[in-house]
Symmetry: C2
Subunit: 195 residues, 2 copies
DNA sequence: GGCAGTAACTTACCACGAGTAACTTACCTC
DNA sequence: GAGGTAAGTTACTCGTGGTAAGTTACTGCC
């Protein structure tokens, strides 16, 4: 008698990693909206309800993808900033690391930034994280500045970086160039105000 | 015999305006994703296929909403900039007009910015429009600058404005304050480079 | 006033994808 | 090997985008 291809059973953590990998790939290829849960399931070699026992909903699966990338982003940028000795270098290196990281994980972030409709909430948290981080950097530089002003500046920088990153992706401008353009405006502006 | 409430028939242009108004309202309240075409249709007092004869698809209806708002945005900001006499005032007034316009049309733009997944393409065109406009402003100020650098700076400003606008909406910072924060960094930076 | 012709509109349906309930089976433990 | 449990499947419901085919209010013309 033929033995059926005896379906392999797999532990929880392992499966979750497989599913996240497949989800990033499928969402990246077809876009979150156009991708179906069945397509993700098929990629893993499993049926749909399995996805739901692990992540609850399609939205939940997307959030999990984002969460995994989020930690990396903070790690990478703050490490880069910490390696610098002067404040100017901190801002410059952090920005450069941001551009380079996005590029190295292009599939993940392409989805998340362009298909941001449903990801909105989670993406906004990431931006808040980056804004706080930068406001902290600026505060160390200008300890007597109004905190709200610092937050305003941090928002300027975060918004500028996001837009420059997408521009880079379209036009092929190097991460060094993009960083320079940001520093042109921002750092010079800050220097004038620091007194 | 009872006359049935004899359903009023309405011309094409008039209906399209009604539908767009209803769509903006419904999308604004429930979010684009969660809103159904039937809900929009009901708001107008009409059945679903009517929407499809006018706009082709749900996506098409969203694009039409955006298109209507888009012309206004360019109009408002360029008019404001044109009313200024110095370059600094142009940037300042244009930025201020941008914030105030978004606020006055909050329902429309809340949807479009937060629910940007499907609107992505059209929104990107609006950003391109704003970027070109600003790059032009900057170019007039620094005629010998590298055009790519001007575009980079324009991206910085557009990204910064977008983020500041959302921050404002959350925190209640005034449009004048937000404008000042942007000018702090950007204008001072530009001044230093203008030579 | 009546009589086409047409544009506006409705009813009734299909397809597809998110999400679920109920059942089955591989693996581990004793 | 018996039995418990976590992993997985089959087979469904329901909501919503989209459409085909039929119906009715308005228009211009005689």
């Amino acid at each position: 008698m033929e033995t059926r291809p005896t379906r392999r059973r797999v532990g929880r953590a392992e499966r979750e990693r497989q599913i996240l990998d497949a989800a990033v790939a499928v969402f990246g290829e077809r876009g979150y909206q156009n991708a179906s849960m069945d397509q993700v399931a098929e990629r893993v070699g499993v049926t749909k309800p399995v996805l739901y026992t692990h992540f609850g909903s399609k939205h939940g699966l997307l959030l999990a993808c984002i969460a995994r990338a989020r930690a990396e982003l903070l790690e990478v940028t703050s490490t880069a900033a910490a390696a610098a000795s002067t404040p100017e270098e901190m801002l410059r290196r952090g920005t450069l690391a941001f551009f380079d990281y996005l590029e190295s994980r292009a599939p993940e972030w392409t989805v998340l930034y362009s298909e941001s409709a449903v990801a909105g909430e989670a993406l906004e948290e990431i931006r808040a994280q980056q804004t706080d981080f930068i406001a902290g950097l600026l505060g160390a530089q200008a300890p007597h500045a109004d905190p709200r002003r610092l937050t305003g500046w941090a928002n300027v920088i975060v918004g500028a970086c996001e837009r420059l990153a997408l521009w880079r992706a379209r036009t092929g401008v190097s991460s060094e160039q993009a960083t320079e353009y940001l520093m042109d405006l921002v750092w010079t502006g800050l220097a004038g105000l620091r007194s």
